[in-house]
């Protein structure tokens, strides 16, 4: 046997015979701290003994030929995984998990806790026994590294994305009282609360589905138009502050999504600056008009316009100047050129930006939570179905399914339909020429939309940065450091330094969790990107779709699904830091995948092949050739994972616990209590921390690129993502 095969077999035995199989015991029974072998033989867990079959199988076949050994490993992996999962799910904290098993096998008083070290080690060793066996049987040209990587990525995605999401489905079908599962599912899915159209005919509220849809469409349209205006100003005019516009694109990355809502409240809330001004000047009574659709729409437009800008600037720059120059030489004037050439070329990009805005709006949770008022949308409704007094997982499941279908549908349209329709006119060959200027009228329209909006954004960010320094916004606008002291107070006591501020705990937890999850996220993402770009295997298209799909799953859905799925054995991790880390990994992975795919596509494949023919294994090739060339992409993926872990709120708000509270959920808590000063001060601090981190790392990466350029004649393959 190969050494690696020995290794995984040994790991399986260690997990089975030496490490405690179950997680921290709830009872005093000594069984629970025993390894599986002893718990099975002498303790109260005889159901673990069948695992001896897959663990002995490769040993029995040890003396047989290579092919038989490979087959035995494969079989052991499949049997082991299948039995562990079945056994793990069949048996819960209180006997059988599924009622049909009880009627089938009779009732039991046996129970089990969640998987502990032993079970996890053994489960992973079964996974890699399977991939080792497949490799030895010749799959993927016998490459153990590649089969192992495929097994790891698919296995964990199934477990941490698909299992939780399908748990939602089963939750939506939990029998409601006397009704059967199917009937309750049907009832929940067709609830008037979701689908009612009574706002059209009568003066009542519409279903939450229509609310979300309306908000999504409006946000998509507004962000697309604003983004286009910005993109045109930035690329097709001689606007003097273009670099400032570019800065705009960094903002949404470092801003926790709901922070803009806070700024809006400071401006337009009952005690807002603008509200007060109008109340004084025109005697308009302060009202709560901002809470509801108008407020959410404004904040989402502010939050997501930069994303549309980012998408559209790429589209506008992708139109080869020669297209427009050709049009001019064919006697078309500026307006005709824009109308007949530029605009049609832009259309697929616009549709793309619209869909992205649509998906972002649906997935957004923070802004509707803060500013929603009576305007319910799916994401907040899910939250209250779980967290509030309702505590109705079935209803949350049904709502999550509706939201998931909307997002995945839009995502599917974006990928399958637009993917084929985009016009790429820039070929990469030297295509010199100057992009044509905008027609004058259009130019002024763009200026008139983009500039006020940019100023508005600027004002809001100023308020966020300085709002925390005011005693009580709107009522007592005197300077004060109270909020910062309350959040980040430090006291020197007899026992040494005391971190007396209320926010320290959550800040440190956030930084710790983000720092742990960032390298794991980047690693998984880049590994997946390697498999997508560099390897060819059956079912790859499906594999790609699965990995990118988690991009379209809204945070609230992920959050709900995680608490539903990981609240009970076999994986009982609700309330721990692990669930936060896992959530971040599988939620942010698509971003690192994209960074990795983009960077890896730039590296000539013959470099890998060459390393192979020189005798390097694929693991060595990755380590010695691919990774060094990917360094910029790795840094980008790391930063992005880190920052997204800090700013994320929609998923983690379900998963935080008293021990593991995160900055964003802490801030949302302050907002709900009306402590805006504290919230704003904390948000500003977060933004500053992240801006500093990003600048530092961009500086480092950028520096490296420049030095390379000057020292050598630009290594073509090395374009950072």
């Amino acid at each position: 046997m190969r050494r690696s095969q020995w290794f995984w077999l040994a790991a399986g035995w260690i997990g089975f015979a030496l490490l405690p199989w179950y997680d921290t015991p709830l009872s005093d029974d000594r069984t629970w701290s025993l390894p599986a072998l002893f718990a099975g033989l002498f303790g109260s867990a005889p159901w673990l003994l069948p695992l001896l079959v897959p663990l002995l199988l490769p040993i029995v076949y040890l003396t047989k030929d290579v092919h038989a050994r490979a087959t035995s490993l494969t079989a052991a992996g499949i049997i082991g995984i299948a039995y562990m999962i079945l056994q793990g799910f069949a048996f819960g904290l209180n006997g059988w998990s599924w009622t049909f098993l009880e009627s089938l096998l009779g009732s039991t008083d046996g129970f089990q806790n969640g998987f502990g070290y032993g079970a996890n080690v053994t489960l992973f060793s079964f996974l890699f026994m399977l991939t080792e066996g497949l490799a030895a049987r010749g799959w993927m040209k016998g490459d153990r590294f590649v089969t192992g990587a495929i097994g790891l990525v698919i296995g964990t995605i199934l477990f941490f994305v698909f299992l939780p999401v399908s748990t939602i489905l089963t939750n939506a079908a939990i029998p409601d009282g006397e009704q059967s599962a199917l009937v309750s599912f049907f009832h929940r899915m067709t609830d008037q609360d979701i689908w009612s159209l009574s706002c059209i005919s009568e003066n009542r509220r519409c279903g939450v589905f229509w609310n979300s849809l309306r908000l999504g469409v409006l946000t998509g349209a507004i962000t697309t138009l604003l983004g286009l205006a910005f993109a045109l100003v930035a690329t097709r005019t001689n606007f003097p502050f273009k670099r400032g516009l570019r800065l705009l694109t960094v903002l949404p990355i470092i801003t926790p999504p709901f922070v803009i809502s806070l700024a809006i409240i400071l401006l337009f809330g009952r005690n807002g600056t603008v509200t007060n001004f109008f109340a004084d000047a025109f005697d308009v009574a302060p009202s709560r008009w901002i809470y509801g659709l108008p407020g959410i729409l404004i904040t989402q437009a502010l939050a997501f316009t930069p994303i549309a800008f980012l998408v559209l600037i790429g589209v506008v720059q992708g139109i080869a100047p020669s297209m427009e120059e050709a049009s001019h030489t064919l006697r078309a004037n500026r307006w005709q050129t824009f109308k007949y050439v530029t605009w049609p070329l832009l259309r697929p990009g616009l549709a793309n930006a619209f869909l992205i805005g649509f998906i972002e709006s649906l997935a957004d949770f923070g802004n509707p939570l803060v500013l929603g008022g009576n305007y319910d949308v799916l994401s907040t409704k899910i939250f209250f179905a779980v967290v509030g007094s309702q505590n109705d997982p079935g209803r949350a499941g049904a709502l999550a399914i509706v939201l998931l279908m909307l997002c995945v549908g839009a995502f599917y349209v974006q990928r399958r339909w637009l993917g084929k329709k985009s016009y790429q006119t820039l070929t990469g060959k030297g295509d010199s020429g100057r992009p044509s200027e905008l027609p004058r009228g259009l130019k002024y329209v763009c200026y008139a939309t983009a500039i006020p909006w940019a100023i508005f954004t600027l004002i809001l960010y100023t308020m966020i940065m300085f709002g925390g320094f005011v005693k009580n916004w709107g009522r007592d606008n005197s300077f004060s450091l109270d909020h910062f002291a309350a959040n980040f107070g430090l006291e020197w006591t007899d026992f040494g330094l005391l971190w007396s501020g209320r926010a320290w705990d959550s800040l440190f937890t956030t930084l710790e969790i983000a720092a742990i999850s960032a390298p794991l996220t980047a690693g998984m993402g880049l590994l997946t990107a390697y498999l997508l770009v560099r390897q060819r295997f059956a079912g790859q298209a499906g594999f790609e779709f699965i990995t990118m799909l988690s991009f379209a799953i809204p945070g609230t859905v992920i959050g709900v699904s995680y608490i539903l799925a990981f609240n009970t054995p076999p994986l009982e991790i609700t309330g721990t830091g692990i669930i936060l880390v896992l959530c971040f990994i599988y939620r942010n992975m698509p971003v690192s995948i994209r960074a990795g795919v983009a960077a890896m596509s730039q590296i000539d494949k013959s470099l890998d092949e060459c390393a192979m023919t020189l005798g390097a294994t694929s693991a060595q090739t990755v380590r010695r050739v691919v990774l060094p060339l990917l360094r910029p992409a790795i840094v980008a993926a790391l930063v992005y994972s880190f920052v997204r872990a800090i700013t994320s709120v929609s998923a983690v708000i379900f998963l935080v616990s008293a021990r593991y509270d995160l900055a964003t959920s802490y801030i949302v808590g302050r907002v709900e209590n009306g402590e805006y000063g504290l919230a704003i001060a904390y948000s500003a601090t977060l933004i500053v921390i992240m801006a500093a981190a990003i600048t530092l790392i961009q500086f480092a990466v950028g520096e490296r690129k420049v030095s390379r350029r000057t020292s050598s004649d630009a290594v073509k393959q090395e374009v950072p993502a």
Binding site: D604, T613, G615
Partner: protein, 355 residues
């Protein structure tokens, strides 16, 4: 010399490679004797690069067997095959210096640092790049990068050395020099080499044996002279040396030559025993001589176009049997367009192929 060679032959036995429904290489068999340079020649998409990659182990084989040095390597991964390859793009690792690039393969084979430094330096000396050890690939010219790629492959002392269009990124002048250098190195080291190119001139210049591929199968194999003088079919005749293909009919046969009727004119062509009566005559452009006095017997033509190229003239000729392309080194006696002339054919530049 510390770079030894352990040359082994290469053998393909009924090898097929399919990509989905597309057959890239269809039931191909050939051998490359140890110590020889065999060229795979053909237009793009003919399957020559796929064939080469199957030798390297970068492409798996759908059916058939690949043998290197007499051993069946069909199921061996590229990492475990004793071959080295020079890539079209050179595939120099841009983040490693020249010496790191050259010693990479040695390091992967687990050779000690001292030995691999010695070997790598020797390899660089062999390709004339001693002194460039600590440069980055991006600091070298195209030709130098090419040499590094060759050195990197050589120092592994592979059983077979593979070249995938190694010269296509170089300019014409450098290409000539590099191809001579490669051939010299190959012969002096006695390396078995498989060389892929679409440039027929390059193939003629470097090969011991040429395998012409077309549409996933072997069209013809043989020495350069075989292929040029005795093409097996119209594809080979046209692909190598660009022959004028004219329909003719055999009217009589003598020993090793035949009389062929081409548009009413009888010309003498080296015979192919298996050729049927109706044939195509492949006439090399340089086998056509123009007689403006029209005294000799030959095919009456009109000069349509006349191009001066310094060392020779190129003519486009119109005749009753179709258009002919001719090359004439008689630059002094250039013929003006519109002139009536008689085209005479030189027997050594002609061949018969099946219609």
């Amino acid at each position: 010399m510390s770079v030894d060679t352990k040359s082994g032959g290469v053998e393909f036995r009924d090898v097929t490679r399919r990509f989905g429904n597309v057959v890239a290489v269809d039931n191909v068999s050939f051998t490359a004797a140890p110590g020889t340079l065999v060229t795979l020649l053909g237009p793009s998409g003919c399957g020559k690069t796929t064939t080469l990659r199957m030798i390297a182990g970068l492409e798996s084989v759908s059916e058939g067997k690949v043998l290197i040095g007499g051993k069946d390597v069909t199921l061996l991964h590229a990492t475990d095959r004793n071959v080295a390859m020079v890539f079209q793009s050179y595939a120099l690792f841009p983040h490693m210096t020249v010496i790191e690039n050259v010693s990479f393969g040695l390091e992967m084979s687990g050779i000690s640092r001292k030995d691999r430094e010695e070997k790598a330096a020797e390899g660089l000396r062999l390709v004339g790049l001693a002194g460039y050890e600590n440069r980055l690939p991006s600091e070298l010219s195209g030709g130098q990068q090419q040499r590094v790629a060759v050195a990197r492959a050589l120092v592994l002392e592979p059983e077979v050395l593979l070249f995938d269009e190694p010269l296509s990124n170089l300019d014409a002048k450098l290409r000539r020099r590099m191809r001579d250098d490669i051939r010299d190195l190959q012969q002096s080291l006695g390396l078995t080499s498989i060389y892929v190119t679409h440039d027929q001139e390059e193939a003629l210049a470097v090969s011991d044996k040429i395998i012409v591929m077309n549409r996933a199968v072997i069209a013809q194999e043989g020495t350069p002279r075989d292929l040029y003088e005795r093409p097996a079919d119209r594809f080979v005749a046209d692909f190598i040396g660009g022959a004028n293909l004219i329909e003719g009919r055999i009217t009589g046969r003598a020993e090793r030559s035949a009389m062929v009727d081409v548009g009413g004119v009888h010309i003498k062509v080296p015979d192919r025993p298996e050729a049927p009566e109706d044939v195509l005559v492949a006439i090399r452009p340089n086998a056509i001589r123009l007689d403006t006095t029209r005294k000799e017997e030959g095919l009456p033509v009109v000069v349509r176009k006349s191009v001066y190229l310094g060392s020779h003239m190129e003519y486009a000729l119109e005749s009753d049997v179709g258009e002919l392309f001719a090359i004439d080194h008689n630059v002094a006696g250039a013929v003006a367009p519109g002139t009536d002339a008689v085209a005479c054919f030189n027997e050594t530049g002609m061949a018969l192929v099946a219609r």
